[in-house]
C-alpha cells in the first residue's frame, strides 16, 4: 500500500546516490547505514543489534542507525531490508520465522536467494521446563508418559518446540503445541498446571527456576553454564535440538567488498568482550558465525519445521 509506494520513491532516490558508490566502494559509507530490527526495542535481540551497530560504526567510520520495524511477526522489517537498494546502506537482524515459518503460511515477498547472510552473534539456550510438583524427574519420564497420553507444551514461537517434536517423532510420544502470545504466558500456564511443559528460552525461564516453581528436564542445544547438571535433549537420548541463532543479513546484490566489511565487523562484534558479557549475563550462548555458517544453521532446519507446520495444520503453501 502506501508503505510500498513510499519505498519505491526511496529506491529511486537511493539508486541515484548509490551509482557512484557501486562503481568504487572507497567512499562507502557516505551516508547513514540503517540496521533494521524486527523486534521491539529493549529486548535481548535488540540490545545485541545495537551493540553490533556500534561496532560497525566504529569499524567503518560511518553512522549506523537502528530502526525497529516491528510487525507482521517480523516479516515487515525483513521485507523492508530485502527490498532496499543493494547499496550497502541497509542490513537487518534476521528474523528466522519469516524465513522458516511464514513462507509456508502466506506469501512472503522475498526468498533465501534474495538475501546475503553476513554472520551470527549468538544462540539462545532453551529449556524443557515443567511445574516443580510434576511427577516427571527426567526427560525420559516425560517421554514415557507421552506414549500413553498427549502432552501439551506451551511456547510463543513455534520454532522453540523443534527439539520436542523431533524427540516425539523418534519415541512415539505425542505432543500438542499450545500457542501463547508471550513467553511469560507459557510459563504461567505451566506453573498453574494448565499445560505440561513450557518450552522457552533461558532468560525468561530463569526467575521461575531460581524460585523453584519450575524444574528443568532437559536443555537444548547445549548445557546452560549456570545449570551445568541438566542434560541436553541429545544427552537424554533423543536426537532433538532447537537451534535459534541470532545473526544479520543484507540484500543479495550488495557488492562483495562491502559485504566482506560487514561480515568482518559482525565477527568482531561477536567476539567483543562487551557483547560476550551482555550475552553471558542474560544466559545466551556467544557463538560467532561466518555468513555461510549462519546460513547453514538456519537452512538445515527447514525440512523439520516444514513437517511441524504440516502436522499442526498450519502449512498452507
Amino acid at each position: 500500500m502506501s508503505a510500498i509506494t513510499r519505498r519505491s520513491l526511496v529506491i529511486a532516490g537511493g539508486t541515484v546516490l548509490a551509482a557512484p558508490a557501486l562503481a568504487q566502494n572507497a567512499d562507502w559509507p557516505s551516508k547513514e547505514i540503517r540496521l533494521i530490527v524486527s523486534v521491539a526495542p529493549g529486548g535481548g535481540a535488540d540490545l545485541v543489534a545495537r551493540q553490533v551497530a556500534r561496532v560497525i560504526a566504529q569499524d567503518t567510520g560511518g553512522t549506523v542507525v537502528v530502526r525497529n520495524i516491528v510487525g507482521g511477526s517480523g516479516l515487515t522489517g525483513m521485507a523492508e531490508m530485502a527490498s532496499s537498494p543493494p547499496d550497502g546502506y541497509t542490513l537487518s537482524l534476521v528474523n528466522i520465522g519469516s524465513l522458516l515459518v511464514l513462507p509456508h503460511i502466506m506469501q512472503v515477498p522475498f526468498s533465501w536467494d534474495d538475501l546475503a547472510f553476513l554472520g551470527g552473534i549468538s544462540q539462545n539456550y532453551y529449556g524443557v521446563a515443567v511445574a516443580a510438583n510434576s511427577p516427571w524427574q527426567t526427560f525420559g519420564d516425560m517421554i514415557a508418559t507421552g506414549k500413553t497420553r498427549r502432552i501439551t507444551y506451551a511456547c510463543a514461537t513455534i520454532m522453540n518446540g523443534v527439539a520436542l517434536v523431533q524427540a516425539g517423532n523418534q519415541s512415539g510420544a505425542r505432543f500438542r503445541l499450545v500457542n501463547t502470545q508471550t513467553d511469560a504466558e507459557a510459563i504461567t500456564q505451566t506453573v498453574g498446571g494448565f499445560v505440561d511443559i513450557a518450552m522457552t528460552s533461558s532468560t525468561v525461564l530463569l526467575p521461575m527456576l531460581q524460585s523453584q516453581r519450575l524444574k528443568l528436564l532437559a536443555v537444548t542445544p547445549a548445557r546452560w553454564p549456570n545449570m551445568p547438571d541438566i542434560p541436553t535433549v541429545k544427552e537424554a537420548g533423543y536426537n532433538g535440538e532447537t537451534v535459534v541463532p541470532l545473526g544479520f543479513a543484507c540484500p543479495a546484490g550488495v557488492p562483495a567488498p562491502i559485504r566482506a566489511r560487514f561480515e568482518a565487523a559482525i565477527l568482531k562484534a561477536a567476539r567483543d568482550p562487551a557483547t560476550v558479557e551482555m550475552l553471558t549475563r542474560t544466559i545466551n550462548m556467544p557463538k560467532p558465525m561466518t555468513g555461510a555458517e549462519f546460513r547453514h544453521a538456519l537452512f538445515s532446519q527447514a525440512p523439520t519445521i516444514e513437517a511441524m507446520l504440516a502436522e499442526a495444520g498450519m502449512k498452507r503453501r
Partner: protein, 164 residues
C-alpha cells in the same frame, strides 16, 4: 418525512453493508482447524452479529432512537464554516500523503500553511514561520535527539545533517 427516514436509516444501511462485506471475507476462512475452533469461527460470529444488529436497525430505526439525547444538535453551518471544514479534511488527507511521501518537515510546513493561512485566514508569513518552527523542532528535537520514528524524506535528512 421520507427524506428524514432515509437519513436516519443511512448509517445503519452503511453499517450493514460493511458488516456483510466483512462476513463474506470471514466465510472464506476455515471454521474448524485440527485443534477445535479454527480461524474463521470468531470473525464469522462477530461479523454476523454486527450484520444482524445493523439490519434490525434498518428495519426498525426506532430501536436506535435515544429518548434522552435527541442527537447532536446541529449548529447552522454557513459557507465560511463549510470552507474551513473542507480545508481541515484536506489537512487530514495531507497527513497521509505527507507521511507516505513528503517526510515530516515538508508536511509540517504545508499543514501549517493549509490550516493557519488558508483555513483560518492568518497572515501568510506567520503561518509559514509557525510551520518552519514546527518542522525544525519536530525533525531535530523529536526525530534526531529523541530518536522517535517519524516520516522521513530528503528534506528531513538534510535538516538532521545540520546537527550531526
Amino acid at each position: 418525512m421520507s427524506r428524514f427516514l432515509r437519513s436516519e436509516r443511512l448509517p445503519y444501511i452503511a453499517a450493514a453493508a460493511v458488516a456483510l462485506l466483512l462476513l463474506s471475507q470471514a466465510m472464506r476462512l476455515e471454521d474448524f482447524g485440527p485443534f477445535g475452533p479454527g480461524a474463521g469461527i470468531f470473525p464469522q460470529i462477530t461479523a454476523g452479529l454486527a450484520a444482524a444488529l445493523a439490519l434490525a436497525l434498518v428495519l426498525v430505526p426506532a430501536l436506535g432512537r435515544d429518548a434522552a439525547a435527541p442527537g447532536a444538535a446541529e449548529e447552522p453551518v454557513g459557507p465560511e464554516e463549510r470552507r474551513t471544514f473542507h480545508l481541515y479534511i484536506a489537512g487530514l488527507v495531507l497527513m497521509v500523503v505527507g507521511s507516505a511521501f513528503l517526510g515530516f518537515a515538508v508536511t509540517a510546513i504545508l499543514l501549517a500553511l493549509l490550516i493557519a493561512w488558508l483555513a483560518e485566514r492568518r497572515p501568510f508569513h506567520s503561518a509559514l514561520l509557525f510551520g518552519l518552527a514546527g518542522a525544525v523542532v519536530g525533525t531535530i528535537g523529536l526525530g534526531h535527539y529523541m530518536e522517535i520514528e517519524m516520516p522521513y524524506a530528503a528534506v528531513d535528512s538534510l535538516l538532521r545533517s545540520l546537527v550531526r
